[in-house]
Point group: C2
Chain length 417, copies 2
């Protein structure tokens, strides 16, 4: 992509109406635009990042047998009345001109449970796992955390269905592992803790995935022995204690809830009377689990963690482009060399943003740092005199000079590492 | 994918509450589930088809320089009041518990115009083309056309921005060609006509793409000389006449509006006062075009066109799987041979649905026809005795017997043709 044609501009001004680092950096880098409080447009750069995160999640859900579906945002009032959740604050309510009323989905148990009930009857059809990557809506009164907590946001929600607790537990552990694979691929695994949290109505504990960050809205206590944490909300009598080893020497930290998994057991299947016939022909309630992770929140989390004073530092796996090719100067031979490398990279299917704009070196470097593409290649009069290019990683300070004809190979090897 | 594990079941009953052929066939084939009137869940098979259509559209929009973004569904009341469209019937209105009011987007001029205005100032930044593939909402009073006209549906909307009418016209023609490429790839080009329709407030004509089908809600008059059509809505004095050659011998037909393109000119840029600085530093209003195509409607159209009394007949390009591998009988050696072919196809990255269920040949064939995957491979005791498999195209009556060890090559060649 030629940067001269890219829609969305970097800006050095810090947006006054954004308190959160993620929104500030994403707006300044030209990744998102604030449409209203808590409502963002993803610009071309931001859409690319979001799509990559969604694909990582999709791959890991497919790998554990998840089947992708797409449920509607418009929700049936009757079904939410069945579970007694119609009047929960977070639900946005929709009206049509002919006075039909809907909810806007902030979660999908009220859709997926009746759906599964329609199609499934026998124990032979279990277990199965349905997921979607879909837009959700929440009536958040204060929307001040950027894309970490929007009123409209992207969500992956998976629902699992089982005939026994054992089977639910088995899949629950599998999903846990899949979540850590996702965090690993997004480069935040070493800051993310499986965290014991309130089980709500369903079970003693649920599990959150909490990623340590000063932007976090939660307080967690980390047991460094067990590599797990507990959420402050379940700490009794001000004495945090590791639920696994009993250790009381825990580290307090702020963290972002980047995922959660819940054993719903029979809460929703009871409400909808969703039963299966077992081997003996007897009816039993189906057991369920639910597993949420927000692609847009994950994107915001990565930005909160990987940045410096100059901008974002994207991990390779979710960077909008792998290479930022920066051309300095307007001499024909410089531009010719830059175009040559640009074309070679495209031929090799290496994603490249090519800064072909008529701007100063200062502006180009500043923008490059703001956008945060992992590898920067600079071509200038100076480098060309030595038949070379300058190579710099966004995450490191120094740069290297390498021969121009070795550049493509260098970049290819960098991609594989 | 093993069919025994696939979520979503075929049914031979015609759903009583669906009048449209597309909804009947899609529900019977296990592609979609009706959540409410005009609101559908895409089951795994349906989600795959929808994703393929969206990818075809994405590729063709990228090919003409479209940049993908993602705008929100939640719409700013103020911006819709600016254009005087806040109180149009089709807009669903949303309320939060703290009494904030939003619209739900059924089109995005009111978002994209202020967005572009924020980022663009100089003639040097033109032209540019922004598109999204996003969920839209419409307050349709009667929802009886299945996924052809839902209350919630998938939409690709592209908006183009120009400094001159010439430039707008140039891109408009490019977009027209891209649309025909999409229809070609979905196999409905030969039934789709560029159709002159009302230009609304903006210009004399707009263009629709109308695909001839008895399920269509529009009446068009086709000029077979020019290969174009006119929509009945613009016919004057009951005398349809080709706007290109004057021919009055036109063919009347019912058609589905599968796409539309509009020259918006300055309608929205005037409302939002979106101007650019020209070379002389003078301010001028920006010109716009908009270009819509609904992936879910396209899916419904294909179903309306490609079916027989036994079910859907998917074109290869958007079929949920390329091969339906049907195993008949429970003998170990039959299953072993079926698994071998299944594994080979997966290794070759040929999408295969493997009917491994314990069902009769009758049920399996009936289901296979309902689902409508282009190529069916049958393995049975009878074929195995001749070291063969039976190969049948869904679109043809006869079948072929080919040697089992040639099956993979045959399928690979079929994929390429």
């Amino acid at each position: 992509m030629k940067q001269s044609q890219l829609f969305g501009k970097t800006t050095y001004e810090i947006p006054k109406d954004e308190q959160s680092m993620n929104a500030q950096l994403l707006i300044r880098g030209g990744f998102v635009d604030k449409s209203m409080a808590g409502v963002y447009t993803y610009l071309p750069l931001g859409k690319r990042v979001l799509a990559k995160i969604e694909n990582i999640i999709r791959e890991e859900m497919d790998a554990i047998g998840g089947q992708e579906i797409l449920m509607p945002a418009l929700q049936n009032k009757k079904d939410w009345q069945t579970t007694g959740r119609w009047d929960i604050d977070v639900m946005m309510k929709v009206k049509t001109f002919f006075d039909k009323e809907y909810g806007l989905g902030w979660t999908h148990e009220e859709v997926v449970t009746p759906l599964a009930k329609k199609y499934i009857r026998s124990y032979k059809d279990f277990p199965f796992y349905l997921y979607q990557i879909q837009t959700k809506f929440r009536s958040e009164k204060r929307a001040k955390s950027g894309i970490l907590r929007g009123r409209e946001f992207s969500m992956k929600d998976l629902y699992s269905f089982h005939t026994s607790e054992e089977d639910l537990n088995k899949f629950y552990d599998l999903a846990k592992d899949a979540y850590f694979k996702i965090f690993d691929r997004a480069n935040i695994k070493n800051k993310t803790y499986l965290t014991y949290a309130s089980g709500g109505d369903f079970s003693k504990y649920s599990h959150e995935f909490q990623t340590v960050s000063s932007a976090g809205e939660d307080i967690i206590y980390i047991c460094e022995k067990c590599n797990i944490a507990i959420n402050k909300e379940i700490v009794e009598n001000n004495h945090p204690k590791c639920p696994k080893c009993g250790n009381e020497n825990l580290k307090e930290d702020k963290a972002i809830e980047t995922g959660n998994i819940f054993k719903l057991n029979t809460k929703f299947t009871q409400a909808f009377n969703f039963k299966f016939l077992d081997k003996k022909g007897k009816e039993n309630l189906v057991l369920m689990g639910c597993y949420g992770i927000g692609p847009s929140r994950l994107m915001g989390t990565v930005v909160e963690i990987f940045n410096d004073k100059n901008g974002i530092i994207w991990p390779k796996s979710i960077a909008p482009y792998q290479v930022h090719l920066v051309c300095l100067g307007n001499d024909d031979n410089i531009i010719k060399e830059a175009e040559k490398i640009y074309n070679s990279l495209q031929k090799e299917k290496i994603e490249v943003l090519y800064d072909d704009r008529n701007e100063s070196a200062g502006v180009k470097f500043k923008d490059s740092d703001l956008i945060g593409i992992p590898l920067r290649i600079v071509i200038s009069k100076k480098t060309l005199e030595k038949d070379s290019v300058e190579v710099k990683r966004r995450s490191e300070d120094g740069f290297k000079i390498i021969k121009a004809d070795k550049a493509i190979n260098f970049i290819k090897m960098n991609q594989e590492s």
